[in-house]
Amino acid sequence: MSAFSSTVALFSKDVRSELRTRYALNALLMFVVTAVATILFALRSDVPSPTVLSGMYWVVVFFTAMSSLSRIFVSEEERGTTMTLQLVASPSTVYFGKLFFNTALTVSLTLAVTVLYTLVFSEFFIIRTASIFFVTVFLGSLGFASAATILAAIVAKANTRGTLYPVLSFPILIVLLMTVMNATARALEGEAFSEAMGDFQILVGYILAMTGGSYMLFDYVWKD
């Protein structure tokens, strides 16, 4: 119970810190607008197909996530507060606190992108099977957050060791991206919910593998 309340306390510290200094919501929103606009620009003259649209949807999410999710550890490391956290919290508290934060960030991010997409591409971006869409977005956000959190922890330290970890981590993210793009395209094409079960299984498996693996490996990454 007390471990849980620590985790919540860490989470709320990050939220406050975010609200205080980074105004992530502000910048994140502008970022999403920017990303959508850029893609809109690149596609200007074409009528995008569901595959392209769902691809672009997740590309925007991916870029936004990658540019903001890693901050969570990098900022602790760069400001030298890692040790302060180590003094007050156990590694699992840190891991779950950061994971929750990243999940919350990704979920709000996908919501923002969804709203923007429905506004901007009102003619093409029509969610025909809402159930598939929302399950995909939710599982996708979780998946992103779980992969991004451990990667962020590694990247924060990798800087000091000069490793190629981030590059090695690609395959990991690509699997996730392909699956969510696939499922989103199904939702746009109006397939039945049951058709997407395969994708969902992959996503759930992915999330479990990522969080489980991260949880076990986190100690090694976190402690010097």
């Binding site: 200094t21 105004y23 502000n26 910048a27 502008m30 607008v33 920017t34 606009a37 809109l40 200007r44």
Partner: protein
């Protein structure tokens, strides 16, 4: 300045009344009838609102950049207050121009948004304003906030000539006068089409909105100063 306040309110009331009230007729007689412009009809009335709003938002940007520049030169925080005040109004007018333009476009060109060059440039202006305020909110130190946002608005201003001259070259436009428009000038500005009375009202409207901007700017600067002073007393 009383003149600015009553002048702007008076002129804008005239523009609203006359712009919306004067009837259209196929063969206008004298000053109290507008010509019917084929393809625009009643929608032509938006000219008196949409265009001055777009103009004001650009003007506000220039004013904000100018005060930013003065701030960098003198480091007097008052210039920063002026600069933000102008930028805030600019954002407001920019949104208004976009909305009136989009509505106009919906009924004239068929959809709210077509990436016409002018639409694109007003969209960029919106983004610049948005970025300007996002930047300001991310800096705590007053002095840093003032100088960095001033630098940003100057850098933004440097790109303006490019999107004024480049954008129309790059993309086919729907706005009258754009690339690929045989008539060159738009129907409204072709001497034959834009009747003298519309023309007068249009320029009157430009003046009215400019005065309105000046009046609102003065008020905003005054409240910004008061806010600043009250926060001075608190600390």
């Amino acid at each position: 300045m009383k003149f600015v306040k009553y002048g702007s309110l008076g002129i804008i009331s005239i523009v609203v009344l006359a712009g919306l009230g004067i009837p259209l007729s196929p063969s206008p007689q004298g000053w109290l009838e507008f010509p019917i412009i084929p393809g625009l009809e009643d929608k032509a009335r938006n000219l008196f609102f949409h265009v001055p709003m777009a103009w004001t938002s650009v003007l506000a940007f220039l004013v904000s950049t100018y005060f930013g520049f003065r701030y960098l030169r003198t480091k007097e925080i008052d210039y920063d207050l002026k600069s933000v005040s102008a930028a805030g109004l600019g954002l407001l007018f920019c949104i208004l121009a976009t909305v009136t333009g989009a509505l106009w476009a919906r009924f004239n060109w068929g959809s709210f948004w077509n990436w016409d060059p002018r639409q694109t440039s007003i969209f960029i202006l919106l983004l610049i304003y948005g970025a300007y305020f996002a930047l300001r909110s991310a800096i705590e130190s007053e002095e840093k906030r003032a100088s960095l946002s001033a630098v940003y608005s100057i850098i933004g201003g440097l790109t303006a000539p490019f999107f004024i001259f480049v954008m129309p070259r790059m993309m086919a436009g729907l706005h009258p006068g754009a690339k690929g428009d045989p008539s060159g000038k738009g129907p409204l500005f072709e001497a034959k089409m834009l009747a003298p009375n519309m023309r007068v009202l249009f320029y009157l409207s430009l003046i009215g909105f400019t005065l309105l901007f000046i009046w609102m700017l003065q008020m905003r600067i005054r409240t910004a100063r008061l806010d600043y002073e009250s926060s001075l007393e608190q600390s």
